[in-house]
Point group: C2
Chain length 353, copies 2
């Protein structure tokens, strides 16, 4: 066994040999867990986030049940925009909904700078509780939505398939678009920074829907802002690993990596070995079991998990140290927790040094 001070998640995030390949799951705190549903009840996630005891408990549940190597703050990417009074909520079963979407310059006034200590003291209460209660080898991950994905919710007013209004704004009023993105850059940096100052030890920037953009649009309208998030956080927290993740972003991976993360999150589409071929043999990756395979039962899930581990194997048969095991997307609400538990056990046991 590794010494008690070993933190597998942080070791792997830095590309250093860890006691075992760390594993956690996006949306590991969620409706797939009966203990989650018992605490959470119905209603908006934003209300649950405002109750530090509940938010801390929901964050801890998957750590207790699965023995995962990281906890991710129970939160939502629209928390800062909601907290500054933009007028956005999360409708159960639908997702973020803004009755008055962001469409012109006057809407900037509804989106002032985010001051986490004043605007979301309950979030920082939760973070401090978790920093106290989590085992020393299970770091808390801060998180925030990337400027593009948050902007898409503000501009569309609801989940979208076409990103019609967002893309129109980029191309017809680029100055307004960039002003919006700069404001959301401040939100992301302030949000993650405040979580890190209160006890989180790494962070993930979620640009979940960036994959809907062409590379040209990403480069022109998104990249500079996501890069600013990573640059500013690196200046403030030079040793803190940051993960950059999106769905269906195979065509953007080089650019998302160039934005400055320590770790590149992969969905299940891009093989780990292919990502290293494209972005360098030292690339530290997070991922990337298809969450649909977890729905197919333990046998299929474990077969898939073994394939992910094999994909992280070097030519000499050893495993690459720079790998954090995860699904390629959030846990589906209908997932059987026992299957996820079996995946955690397999990953940790198969990779223990």
């Amino acid at each position: 066994m590794a010494p008690a001070t070993s933190v597998p998640f942080l070791d792997a995030a830095r590309g250093q040999p860890a006691a075992h390949t760390p594993v956690w799951f996006m949306r590991q705190a969620g409706r797939s867990l009966p203990e989650y549903r018992a605490v959470r009840g119905e209603g908006s996630i934003l209300d649950a986030i405002k109750r530090p005891d509940d938010a801390a408990e929901l964050t801890l549940q998957p750590v207790r049940r699965y023995g995962v190597d990281a906890a991710v703050l129970y939160s939502d990417i629209v928390v800062p925009a909601h907290a500054v009074g933009f007028g956005i909520d999360v409708a159960p079963g639908t997702g973020p909904v803004a009755p008055e979407p962001f469409r012109d310059h006057t809407d900037l006034h509804r989106l002032r700078e985010f001051e986490p200590e004043a605007d979301t003291p309950y979030v920082l209460d939760t973070v401090r509780t978790l920093a106290r209660e989590l085992p020393a080898n299970v770091p808390l991950l801060a998180f925030a939505g990337a400027p593009f994905t948050v902007a898409s919710y503000l501009v569309e007013g609801r989940p979208s398939r076409t990103y019609e209004h967002t893309k129109r704004m980029m191309h017809t009023v680029p100055a307004l678009w960039h002003a919006l993105m700069e404001r959301l850059t401040q939100h992301a940096v302030a949000s993650i920074g405040s979580q890190l100052r209160n006890g989180a030890r790494a962070f993930q920037l979620f640009d979940s829907w960036a994959g809907n953009l062409s590379r040209a649009d990403y480069d022109q309208f998104v990249f500079p802002h996501s890069q600013a998030v990573f640059t500013q956080l690196r200046e403030q927290f030079p040793d803190t690993p940051g993960i950059h993740f999106g769905i269906g972003c195979d065509h953007l991976l080089e650019r998302m990596y160039a934005a400055g993360p320590t770790v590149l999150g992969l969905d299940w589409r891009t093989p780990i070995s292919e990502a290293r071929r494209r972005m360098g043999a030292d690339l530290v990756v997070q991922g990337n079991l298809d969450p649909a395979l977890v729905l197919a039962g333990t046998e299929v899930a474990l077969e898939g998990a073994r394939a992910v581990l094999a994909d992280n194997t070097l030519a000499d048969g050893s495993r690459h140290p720079g790998h954090i095991f995860n699904l390629g997307h959030g846990v589906n609400p209908s997932t059987n927790p026992d299957v996820l538990h079996a995946v955690v056990d397999l990953v940790q046991k198969a990779t223990t040094r």
Copy 2:
């Protein structure tokens, strides 16, 4: 002007210099056109397809209005499965719905071989009418759903985000999966073959949702069957160009090209120049203007169209002959037809030799 016998679509599909870069739009016959809505009314698309006069008229409308360089048969990818009595319909506003999805071996009996002349004589009536009525320089494109995308509708029973049941079948009962795919390969080959024998002059195989698969799953469970479609059609119709298209398939493009198409369809995510860098300088491509840019008005749409044309430019400033202009996905129903018309004019005029 080029001689009257020039067919820009077929020239470009073969990588030969065309009178101009040909242009057509996926779903160019659709709800974006008022004349479409007038003919089509409400009800299932499958009923409209059974009326050859209406189906031919709907196919011709965008040719008349826009002067596009190809007509695509007004049809739907579930037509063969519906015609053999599987029990699938297209619900307006939802998409394909199968009340009893394909889940086990007994369901194979509901999916017998497809005999186009006997099962869908109305489709071939439509094709023959179009072959007579279309201008000589505007070929009719045959089309069919690729085995995977059709299978996903049969197995899920409705449009899906996770492809949970489909992926489970692949991994838990692979023999059943492959039997289903072999049957759907026969459907696709028979459907496209019958359209080609009755007057269509090229074809497109739509694997719209293949992009949801990991490369490993695509290779193991889909590639052999899509390759069989192209191989069998090439044996029967050696000079007929075939296009292979899917959404969000950046990570699969090498494999989709290896399946054997003449032309690789690109959605808006992958730059044309990047596709040629990956798959060869001679690659013939179709695409790839983001349909969301067409929703943003004429100016943005034309700017986007010029960028697509520029992306098809060779180092010496000349344009690559192997390019068929299209959107990167189907026309959105809320599209303004005048914007599409302006795109057609721009592409044809800017590229006329």
